[in-house]
């Protein structure tokens, strides 16, 4: 019950803040424009591709690249959206109000995480409507689109957990946003050197988020990739809970 109360409170606070609306308007406008460009390019090359027996279709050339652009925007959007969830409360002095309501740290963290994740899933759903409105007019590869969507959901869930964790450790929302951006970029690029050296396996590649997202965007669903994302989410939320619990201890 208290989990739902925290989620509702955070959801309400997200909805009345201009930042969430500005981010949604700007990013959806950008994605809409890119969707138009991708669609134009797809239609222009249709005749040439007709000669290829197994050529890329609408899903490969429009839907998945659009989701790829959303993934890139998420690197900036998620830290901005999640920066205030705990750091803002700490700064305003409202965090003790939640402690004094008898809500355990784990539920505060989870409640806030679910609110941020809800906003991100709505953002993803609105983006997905762009290729889906053309489903009746083109041939969609549903399997590949589902796989890419699962990948995006997992990625957004992981970025939200990192954002909430950084917010729990920071004293100011801007520091939380910068921290989340750095951690996310580090996780994405951690294997860049190894890749340049021609190494495609090993622990360093396993650590990188791109290693686990790219197969999903290509339509390959592997339980190992899903487990990687789940582990990252659990680890980030556990760290946030621990930090919040320490807040209550330290005062």
């Amino acid at each position: 019950m208290s989990l739902l109360a925290v989620t509702r409170l955070e959801w309400r606070r997200l909805l009345v803040r201009p930042l969430a609306w500005v981010l949604a308007a700007l990013t959806l406008g950008w994605l809409g424009w890119n969707f138009t460009l991708l669609l134009g390019s797809f239609l222009a090359g249709q005749i040439q591709r007709a000669a290829l027996p197994d050529g890329p279709g609408f899903t490969d050339l429009v839907a998945v690249p659009l989701l790829g652009q959303l993934a890139q925007l998420a690197f900036l959007v998620v830290p901005l959206l999640s920066m205030s969830v705990i750091a803002g409360e700490r700064r305003n002095g409202t965090l003790p109000l939640l402690f004094a309501a008898g809500v355990p740290a784990s539920r505060i963290v989870l409640g806030k995480y679910l609110a941020v994740l809800g906003w991100l899933l709505l953002w993803l759903a609105l983006t997905l409507t762009m290729p889906l409105v053309l489903a009746h007019a083109t041939h969609l590869d549903w399997g590949k689109l589902t796989s890419a969507t699962v990948g995006l959901v997992l990625m957004l869930a992981a970025l939200a957990a990192i954002g909430v964790a950084c917010s729990s450790f920071a004293s100011h929302p801007a520091i939380a946003a910068a921290g989340a951006l750095i951690v996310t970029l580090a996780l994405w690029e951690v294997n860049l050197g190894a890749q340049m050296a021609g190494m495609n396996g090993g622990a360093i590649n396993w650590l990188a988020m791109s290693t686990h997202l790219q197969p999903l965007l290509r339509g390959l669903v592997s339980s190992a990739d899903i487990v990687w994302f789940v582990l990252l989410i659990v680890l980030a939320l556990a760290l946030a809970t621990r930090r919040l619990g320490a807040d209550r201890e330290r005062g």
Partner: protein, 254 residues
């Protein structure tokens, strides 16, 4: 807001050798107190005496380093969820979620305290009416004056009809009319069986509404006794003796 006054007041709050270090110093040390239902206790002390730290621990916002807190006979430190229904807390400076309206604030607090649906709506209407918050109901908390925030904080603390009301300097930023209203409200809550503990710097506040006064100095309890409306001079003497010397000499019977 009708409640039956308990026939025999029971102990709502019991502090047992409560201690807490804060900012590198002992903020509260070996504090033991008990508060019965319907009793109003004033917590006095100079700045840094440990009043807010004590009230934060009682409210469940801060964990003590050692000692125990019992609420209605149950171990509060083992069961922090007791705060949800039993305690109403008005922290110092009444922090608010600036982007929510007064109505939304009350709803959020009510849900956090386990109220929902028609029970929440009824409690919200009652407290808005009692604290005369109707003109502010749709206003954002972020644009309220400090006095209005204080009233909102008080409304949030009272919304779920707690058994223990913890008020940290509740008269802060209130005008004289509102202070009189606050005193009436505290007496009304006590008459309904709510135990009230409040911190203040105003001795007149204590003599006006409190049945008992506890004086803290450097984190320890230096005085705990009954107080009456006509005790102002005696209370002032006791307070200044403790503030200046750290202790006071109780008056001896002739």
């Amino acid at each position: 807001m009708t409640s039956i006054i308990p026939a025999s007041p029971k102990t709502v709050l019991q502090l047992d050798r409560l201690s807490r270090r804060r900012a590198g110093r002992q903020a509260v040390q070996d504090l033991s107190l008990a508060l019965r239902s319907g009793e109003v206790m004033g917590l006095l002390g100079v700045n840094g005496a440990g009043k807010s730290t004590t009230l934060s621990m009682i409210a469940g916002a801060l964990r003590p380093d050692s000692g125990g807190i019992r609420l209605n006979g149950e171990d509060f430190l083992e069961h922090p969820e007791l705060a949800r229904t039993l305690i109403g807390w008005l922290p110092e400076r009444a922090p608010v979620w600036a982007e929510l309206t007064v109505n939304e604030h009350l709803d959020a607090h009510g849900r956090l305290r386990g109220l929902n649906g028609s029970a929440l709506r009824a409690a919200r209407s009652a407290i808005i009416e009692r604290l005369e918050l109707q003109p502010l109901a749709r206003r954002l908390a972020g644009v309220l004056s400090q006095g209005q925030r204080q009233r909102l904080g008080l409304a949030c603390a009272l919304l779920h009809r707690p058994a223990l009301l913890v008020l940290d300097e509740p008269a802060n930023a209130l005008d004289p009319v509102q202070v009189a209203g606050l005193r009436a409200l505290i007496r009304e809550q006590a008459a309904a069986g709510t135990a009230v503990i409040l911190s203040t710097h105003l001795l007149a506040e204590v003599t006006a509404v409190c049945d008992r006064v506890a004086i803290l100095h450097e984190g320890t309890l230096r005085h705990d006794g009954a107080v009456h409306a006509d005790d102002h001079a005696a209370l002032e003497k006791t307070f200044f003796e403790i503030a200046m010397n750290g202790s006071h000499q109780p008056a001896r019977a002739a």
